[in-house]
């Protein structure tokens, strides 16, 4: 039953805690998906979205980037619980109109929860908060974009502007956005990748020469062994469980490595199969390594040492010597380094005993082909890049790179995050790309590298950046060190967001703020030449088309491409050095954009023709064609200094995490049913033995205080302690509520990704409760 947007904003003070689930999905997933969808919109619209999502003539799920099965193998219901919720959260019938902003000031809205803001519905017309005002008011598109263009043109340097992209943006919008930013004169193109898989791209590019994974769904289906490391597929990419079930049905094995024993790592009940509806489903993990937060580098170093020792015991039977000798470099240094590993250090870092790791080694030795999958549990650590390099070492040792049924699989979290980077959303694109862009549009792109997300926040904080333009996303909540980030955003002269729904980034804003509402993935995109489609690239490099089916939420909405091309025309008009870009033709017909992409981005030749075929086309990974585009032409072993996350006595290492009922920064409800949390998000999960050791009681209220070298007190207050089987010494709590604890300067080596999965905290009795 459709419900009106909430007026109240419950704090979730009285959570109910139940036993964590030991299986994921099944019939309850369908029920929850339908319940949420029908709260948001009509049965007709729900049917339209769900039956068209991830179909070859339909639209791409705006949720995660997990790939679709090949055409002919897709079910009529080719989506998961979270995808269904996500799309119907977008397709909601609720609308925000001008009176809403008369009723609520920006300051009032800044006091509302992420969930409340999101639940108000779709944005329907451009809004402006003028300088000094505390209210948004309606504005027409010409004035809104003219205002933004005017502020951009008045900057002393183009580098005072920041152009942020979130992973929802299509290839077309992303290409236009980066072209606009560069034609304007800056490479300040931070993106959500900087917060997520930047570490994966850095490590894979360095060691294999390609910054993407090299596996397909078929590789996972037919692998002998799949590792799931630092990820929670049951909540964050549930359709992955279907692929993992196929691995098991084909006789493969799975090892899960995680600080939390998540339901989806234990068992999967496929809601479209009899065995999942009335049966027990499929066991996912054959082995579960209950690892300490940040212990993965030590684990893979230990596994690599065990493989070297197994080779010592049975020479010529364990390592792929032909591959190592002919196709890799750096083996000798790597071997020497790993052989110096201390098992005492491994124990301290991982919390795992040698026998447990040896059992996994035995599985590895029985497996000819191995895939390693990972997500944020690996990438958001200080030593994330070395950890992923060590995984590459592990794969290289037995030749599990560049073959079918084997390889590296970073599982990406937002539907087109990979495609946006392919289209040039990066602050330091290779010169070859910049040259091609300059040739195609007759201009000289800026040579100076730009700012990533963390450096953009620093620049706004320091007054070096004055205008922020966000293409989708919720920058304020996705980023670390919430207080520092919010102060930085508030220092801006102008912040503008191209958005479908209201979020905190609209309420924590610059002196002038613009809301530029846009159509969603599920909606029809009509331009001068007719109805358009957009294209996206999934986590396994398949590029395909997406065609919305619903009428837009409002007639006043513009597409992302239309907003950006209009803005570019207004900003760059009269500039003598302006690039030769047919912005109006781009807006009228997206084929014109794709024709230009085909001439700039390698691998996109005949883009328009190829992408309209069923399922689109795959970008081949050179690694699978026997080519390692590294400087040496070989895959690279690396010697990675041992690192672990330690916490002083009386402290814990905190990982931030999503709940099951959450998409990125937006919680749909206050529940997290797989973990048995109901009715609250201010929860911190701690191992019962740690609770005892710290003298704390399950159910008591505490503040979380971050400990960092700058001595600044970062406090997330009033959390309920929940005794939970996290790894010893580790705690877990939801983001974005705990982003406040992640120091801006606490970043991963090389990738500069905030270390949101490894924060040292201490727990103190709740100051808020004490004050009551």
């Amino acid at each position: 039953m459709q419900r009106k947007p909430p007026v109240a904003d419950p704090s979730g003070d009285n959570p109910r805690i139940t036993r964590p689930k030991t299986w994921a999905t099944g019939v309850p997933a369908v029920e929850h998906a339908m319940e949420y969808s029908l709260e948001q919109t009509s049965l007709r619209r729900t049917a339209l979205t769900l039956l068209n999502m991830n179909q070859t003539r339909g639209f791409d799920c705006p949720g995660c980037a997990w790939p679709d099965p090949v055409p002919g193998h897709r079910t009529k219901n080719e989506y998961c619980e979270n995808g269904a919720k996500h799309v119907n959260d977008e397709a909601t019938s609720r609308r925000i109109r001008a009176p809403f902003f008369e009723r609520y000031s920006v300051s009032e809205l800044a006091g509302k929860s992420d969930r409340w803001l999101n639940q108000q519905g779709r944005l329907t017309e451009p809004m402006v908060k003028r300088a000094g005002s505390d209210h948004y008011e309606p504005v027409n598109w010409n004035e809104a974009l003219g205002l933004l263009a005017g502020e951009l043109r008045q900057l002393e340097s183009p580098n005072e502007a920041v152009f942020y992209t979130s992973g929802r943006a299509s290839n077309e919008a992303a290409f236009v956005f980066q072209l606009f930013a560069r034609a304007f004169g800056t490479n300040n193109l931070p993106d959500c990748s900087n917060l997520c898989h930047e570490s994966s791209g850095a490590a894979l590019h360095e060691t294999l020469g390609v910054g993407k994974g090299d596996v397909s769904l078929r590789d996972i289906h037919h692998a002998d062994l799949v590792f799931l490391v630092g990820q929670n597929p049951g909540s964050n990419h549930p359709r992955m469980l279907t692929a993992l079930e196929q691995t098991k049905l084909n006789g493969g094995h799975i090892v899960a490595v995680n600080p939390l024993p998540e339901a989806g790592l234990i068992r999967f009940k496929h809601p479209q199969e009899v065995r999942g509806v009335i049966g027990r489903g499929t066991q996912i993990s054959d082995r579960f390594l209950h690892i300490r937060v940040g212990g993965d580098l030590a684990l893979f170093q230990a596994l690599n040492l065990l493989l070297l020792e197994a080779e010592d015991a049975r020479p010529g039977t364990v390592l792929d010597h032909d591959f190592i000798q002919n196709h890799t470099s750096g083996f000798t240094e790597f071997e020497k380094h790993v052989r110096s590993l201390s098992w005492r250090d491994v124990r301290a870092a991982t919390g795992l005993g040698r026998p447990e790791i040896e059992k996994v080694r035995d599985l590895v030795l029985r497996s000819e082909r191995i895939v390693v999958c990972w997500a944020m549990g690996l990438t958001q650590h200080r030593h994330a890049v070395p950890t992923i390099r060590e995984i590459v070492n592990f794969l290289l040792l037995r030749g599990n790179i560049g073959k079918p049924r084997a390889g590296a699989c970073p599982v990406r979290g937002h539907s087109n995050v990979q495609g946006d980077r392919t289209m040039g959303i990066w602050e330091k694109m290779p010169q070859k790309f910049m040259d091609a862009l300059g040739r195609e549009f007759s201009f000289t792109p800026p040579a100076e590298h730009g700012w990533d997300t963390v450096n953009s926040i620093r620049a706004m904080r320091d007054g070096r950046a004055r205008v922020f333009v966000g293409l989708a996303g919720n920058f304020v909540r996705a980023t670390p060190d919430s207080r520092a980030t919010e102060q930085a955003m508030r220092r801006c002269r102008l912040t503008a967001h191209i958005s479908t729904k209201l979020n905190r980034s609209h309420t924590v804003c610059g002196d002038i703020a613009l809301i530029l509402p846009t159509i969603g993935r599920s909606e029809k995109d009509r331009q001068a030449s007719g109805e358009q489609f957009i294209t996206v690239e999934d986590s396994m490099s398949q590029v395909h088309a997406s065609r919305g089916r619903l009428d837009p939420a409002s007639k006043k909405l513009l597409s992302e491409v239309a907003i950006l091309t209009k803005l570019a025309r207004l900003t760059l008009r009269d500039r003598p050095d302006a690039a030769d870009v047919p912005w109006a033709e781009f807006e009228a017909d997206y084929n014109n954009i794709r024709q230009r992409i085909a001439r700039v981005v390698p691998g996109f030749e005949n883009y328009n023709e190829r992408v309209t075929g069923p399922g689109g086309f795959g970008l081949p990974n050179p690694v699978n064609e026997g080519v390692f585009p590294t400087p040496s032409g070989k895959a690279m072993f690396t010697a990675n200094e041992f690192q672990m996350l330690g916490a002083p006595e009386g402290h814990l290492v905190l990982q931030t995490m999503r709940s099951h009922d959450q998409w990125n920064t937006i919680p749909y409800t206050l529940d997290d049913r797989y973990r048995g949390i109901h009715g609250s998000r201010r929860i911190v999960l701690v191992n019962p033995a740690d609770l005892k050791e710290l003298g704390l009681t399950d159910g008591s209220q505490v503040d979380l205080i971050g400990v960092w070298r700058d001595g600044i007190e970062r406090r997330a207050d009033d959390f309920r302690l929940v005794s939970y089987p996290t790894a010893r010494g580790c705690a877990a709590a939801y983001y974005p509520e705990t982003n406040v604890l992640v120091p801006l300067d606490s970043v991963a080596e090389i990738s500069n990704t905030p270390t949101s999965k490894g924060i040292v905290i201490r727990l103190e009795p709740s100051t808020r409760r004490a004050a009551r």
Partner: protein, 170 residues
């Protein structure tokens, strides 16, 4: 282990015969029952075949591929088997093509002699059709001259690797 073998002499040079065998997408043009073959990766093929009223799909990994000599594969889907085709140059214009399938029996159908006889007849007809196809055509429809060893690709020297974005993807 059950072996099915077939040899046939074809009136084209070994290079032509081999090159044609690398063009998997063309197989449905002469192989009875095969509806389509895709090659999502150089060392991986996906087959859709029809057996009477039943449509089956298979994934096969190419584990060895050596120009003008040999191609071996491993069927990853039931019924699993290994196969090898070798090419012998008889003279500058004639080639002997030898096919050998090692079938691991699985399932009732594959255990019966009649099923094996059916498979043998299909192989015989397929090889005859291949001979007719390439002899009438007189030249290959395409080629890939790279190598595959133990499932690992060595690219075609004339083509090199694919040109795609290689920069880090976050």
């Amino acid at each position: 282990m059950t072996i099915i073998e077939k040899s046939i002499d074809i009136d084209v040079p070994v290079r032509t015969a081999y090159n044609q065998w690398t063009q998997f997408e063309s197989f449905p043009r002469f192989l009875e029952g095969v509806e389509s073959i895709q090659q999502p990766q150089r060392a991986l093929t996906h087959w859709i075949a029809r057996f009477g009223a039943v449509t089956r799909e298979f994934d096969a990994e190419i584990v060895e591929q050596h120009p003008d000599e040999r191609l071996s594969w491993l069927m990853l889907t039931e019924p699993r088997h290994k196969g090898t085709v070798t090419f012998e140059s008889l003279d500058s214009g004639r080639t002997r093509v030898n096919l050998r399938l090692d079938l691991t029996p699985c399932g009732v159908v594959h255990k019966t002699g009649s099923a094996l006889n059916l498979a043998q007849r299909r192989i015989d007809r397929g090889m005859e059709s291949f001979k007719e196809f390439i002899e009438v055509q007189g030249r290959e429809t395409g080629s890939w001259r790279g190598e595959i060893r133990s499932g690992r690709v060595r690219p075609d020297p004339a083509l090199g690797g694919p040109l795609v974005p290689t920069w880090p993807t976050g």
